[in-house]
Each structure stands twice: as C-alpha cells, then as structure tokens.
Amino acid sequence: MSRIVTLYSYRGGTGKTTTAVNLSRLLAERGERVAVVDTALQAPALHTLFNLGDIPEWISFTDYLIGRCTLEDAIQPIELTEDAAAAGGGLYAVPACDRSYKLEAILTRGYDIGLLHEAFYQLIDRLNLDTLVLDTFPGITNETASAVARSDALVMMTRADRAALVGAPKAVDAVAGLSRGRRLLAVSLLTETEIGEQFGELLAQAYNAPVAALLPPAPELAGAPAKTFFVDAYPSHPLTREYRRLVDSLDGAA
C-alpha cells in the first residue's frame, strides 16, 4: 500500500524542505521506494537541497505542468548508499524550476489543476513507490491545497513562537481540513532549550495533532554540506534523532 506524506506550514522557514529531504533519505534507508515532489512552484528549494546541479533547463515539475516536458523527463534519481540500495530502497526527486521566465508562464497562463493529482498517482504507479513525499509552499496556494487534499499523512510544521499559537492554527485548520489523512505536528525550535511540556501541549491542542518531533536548531545546516543528507553527515545529532522519531510516527499515522 503506497502512501502520500505532505509537509505543510502556514508560515515560511519552518524547515519543510530540509525535513522532506532527510525524511525521504531515512525511508529509503529502510528499503522503501520514495519520491519527493517540489510543489512549491513559487519558491522551489528541493533541487538545491538534493544538490541537483546539472538538470537540463527544459526539465522540471514546473515544465511538466506547462506542457514542456513529460513527467518521466522530470524524475531525477538520487544516489543512495549501498546499504539502502541493497535493502531495496529507491529515492527520486521531482524538482520544480527556478528560472523566472518559466514562473511567468505559471503566473500568467496557469495550468490545469487536475495535472497535479494525475502526476502524484502516476509517480506512485510508474516508480512503484511506497511513499510519495510532497513539499509545499507555505500558506494557501492551489498546489498546496492539492497536495494536502491527497495526503494520507499530513505533517504540519511550525515554529515554537507566539504566532504559532495565535492566528496560525485557524488558518492551518482550514487547509488541513482538506486532508483525509492523520495529522502530525513537527515543531522547529529556535533555541536549544527544551520547550516546556505545557507549551508542547498547547501546540498539540491548538493544531489538534500529536507532537511527533521537536526539531532542535542545527547551525550545521547553514554551512556547505559535507554530504547531501544531514542525517548521513551527523548521524548522532539530536536533529537526526528527531527525524527518526518522525519517521516512526508516520508508521503509526499512515
């Protein structure tokens, strides 16, 4: 049974793409076949975090949507360690495009919204996926709404600040309501200090979802990557531990 895991947040900068990339790596390591799609057409980052440098300029998820390439063209296989490959794992990225003239076509002409849904299921089918991970643009966009509507597990990401408790939950709820899957909350912490249990409970209540991961800050993320995946470069880091906890929670959710 394949599943769709969507990462969603109301505000930007909560760590969705970093989480998507490392989550997919951990799933592949367990022998799963995983693909990650960048539906954040307006501000794509997946290709950067996956270190995808030399993709031809006419190929991307964005190009697929506006009819310039096929979905197959847009699939980028990601190299795995021997262990992961031996376990039967597979990892693929479907990055969006950051070249401005292509974005203009999306903004002015648009594309058929049904193509998103079709792409998700065609990827699952053609790549024989266990998990499809969808990275999204924050707030409310058509692509985000489609990604949330199709999710079997919805990972809502938030920072641990006042805005997260006031205002954001209602907005998130409106979008999260599109999903028929289970909701999980992942909190991006600003400081090393643990947030109080009470605050954690407040967040869980506000978002009507269990806290599945408390992601500590990691300055290492800002530097040039030694390896593509943080979880590979820093296997004992608390952030890696929380990513593993998130993967385990997903098993419970979908």
């Binding site: 009819g67 648009g110 049904g114 849904h117 079709e118 058509n142 709404a145």
Partner: protein, 304 residues
C-alpha cells in the same frame, strides 16, 4: 396602355426572393467556417463525423480540438433550439464561447467549489481538463442567461474531454441525447445520461461531471435529436431503439458505423423531407493501439 406596373411586381418579388436565397447561401458558407475543417485525430484513434443541416443554415454543431498543451481532446456535439437563421446565429455564438473559454481557461479561473468538484469526487479519475470543461459550460450558461435572456435561446450540449493515452473520458451532458458507449462487440454497453440542464436556461446552473472509460475497440457515438426524430413519410420516428439496434453489430472502424447509420436513416426516411438537423460523431479507440506518448496529433480532413 398596358399596365407595366402590374407585370413588374412578380419580377420584383422574385428578385427579392433570389436575394434572400443568396444571403442564406452566404450564411451557410460562413457557417461551415464555424465548424472545424480538420479534426485532430490522436494516434490509435478514429474520429468521424456526419453533418446534415435540414435547411441551408443549421442549429446543430460539433467541435473537436486539443486542450492542455495537446494532452487532451475536447469533443462537442450540440443542438441549438429551433431551426434556421436564429438558431444559426446562436450556434456561432455558443460554439465560439465554448471553444474559446475551454482553450484559454487555466488555473487562474477555477470553477465554483472546485475543491469539492475537482479534488474529491470520482476518486482515482484524474480530472485533467475538468476546469476547462466546467468553465466553458458554466461561463457560456451565465453569458446566455445574462445577456440573452430575452431571446430565450438555449442549446443541448454534450462536451467530453478525452485522454487519448488511456481512453478516459470525463464529460458534461447538458440535456442532450445520451451518447452511446459501444463495446468492442458492437453492443451499446452504456448511455451517457444528462448531468445538468440545457445551456442557456437556468442562471447559476451547476453541472456535474460524468466519467466513462473507452477500452480498445470501443466507440463513443454521439448524435443530435435529428437522428432519433428522423421521420418516414408515414410520420414514424426513427427512434432510439433503431439507433441502439444499428449499433449492435461490431464495426471495423468509425467510418463504417456512421455509413451504416446514415444508410439506416436514409432507408427509414426514404425521400421524406428532412425536418431537423442531423449530426453524428463517432470516436473509436483502435483495437491494436499502442498506448501513445503524449505529443502532437496527426490531423484528418473531415467529411463536411
């Protein structure tokens, strides 16, 4: 003195009549331009059409054109109420509104309640083309009921969007004769019933989307009411049963189906004056078709 005025009148009247006939003939020729002169035919498919107006100008029309960057084929068969010049004028209007809206409609103008209608129902059926379809039908309906309510013209419309790679067909049937879905053995295995009212009657009407799947060898047969209502000299209608019957023998291709239908109608009407416009569209998926890669389609001249 001979009464020259007296003998001039019938001549003047005749000249005027010839003038009207000439105008109608010009109208007919222009109206042909409102029908596609080439039908886009995807690899692995056949598309054939028969179009016979009852008078010089028709209220029926059909259309076939690519949308979504060539990934989908829009198919329309429609019938404007009434006959003659009024119907022909509205045919031009409705045909243009439907095609233009479907072609330019993108993400930026989504139908009302699109979340529910496009992201929810018929789960498993990709709704690619549904936004264009709904925008075209609902936009045209709004325009007619708003700007032309006084004239009261409306049209029954069948508007389908076909995915040639898979045979998946989503459609809206606005009060139109249900097209038949013919199995590869020829038998009519389904009728695509109405999913909403005729276009131009109810402001803010909501149209539902239906879905059908064409397997290799299967054929979509759409027509206007001029077919079942074709009258023999006795006044007897051709009827829906005869229609289903003629479709029950397998055909080798879409052309054969339409030739057989035309022969059966001619046989039935046997020289009686044609009362209503007759339009038939057959879209058949070939038996040995290889799943096509999405790309440019070849075109074929239609028979008009």
């Amino acid at each position: 003195m001979p009464d020259l005025n007296g003998s001039a009148e019938p001549l003047a009247a005749r000249a005027q009549l010839l003038g009207y006939e000439r105008e109608l003939e010009i109208g007919r020729q222009i109206q042909v331009g409102f029908l596609p002169d080439r039908l886009p035919v995807p690899d692995g498919w056949e598309i054939e059409v028969e179009f016979h107006p009852a008078r010089q100008v028709a209220g029926d029309f059909y259309d076939a054109f690519e949308i979504i960057d060539g990934r989908r084929l829009a198919l329309i068969v429609a019938d404007v109420c009434d006959k003659g010049v009024g119907a022909a004028l509205f045919m031009a209007l409705i045909r243009t509104l439907l095609r233009h809206t479907a072609e330019i409609s993108g993400l930026l103008h989504l139908p009302k309640n699109y979340q529910e209608r496009l992201l929810g129902p018929l789960s498993g059926v990709p709704m690619v083309g549904a936004a264009s379809l709904l925008n075209a039908i609902e936009g045209t309906n709004q325009y007619l009921t708003g700007a032309h309510a006084r004239q009261g013209y409306f049209a029954t419309v069948f508007f389908g969007v076909l995915d040639p790679a898979t045979g998946s067909l989503i459609y809206v049937n606005c009060g139109h004769n249900p097209p038949l879905l013919l199995g590869s053995d020829g038998a009519a295995r389904a009728e695509l019933e109405p999913t909403g009212p005729a276009v131009g009657i109810l402001p803010d009407a909501v149209f539902d989307i239906g879905h059908a799947q064409l397997a290799p060898g299967e054929c979509l047969f759409a027509f206007t009411d001029g077919v079942p209502e074709a009258r023999a000299t006795s006044g007897e209608f051709f009827g829906d049963e005869r229609l289903v019957d003629l479709a029950s023998v397998p055909v080798n291709d879409a052309r054969e189906l339409l030739d057989r239908a035309t022969a059966a109608i001619d046989d039935h009407t046997a020289g009686a004056k044609q009362f209503d416009d007759i339009t038939m569209l057959a879209v058949r998926r070939q038996l040995d078709a290889v799943a096509s890669v999405r790309g440019p389609t070849r075109t074929a001249m239609n028979g008009v």
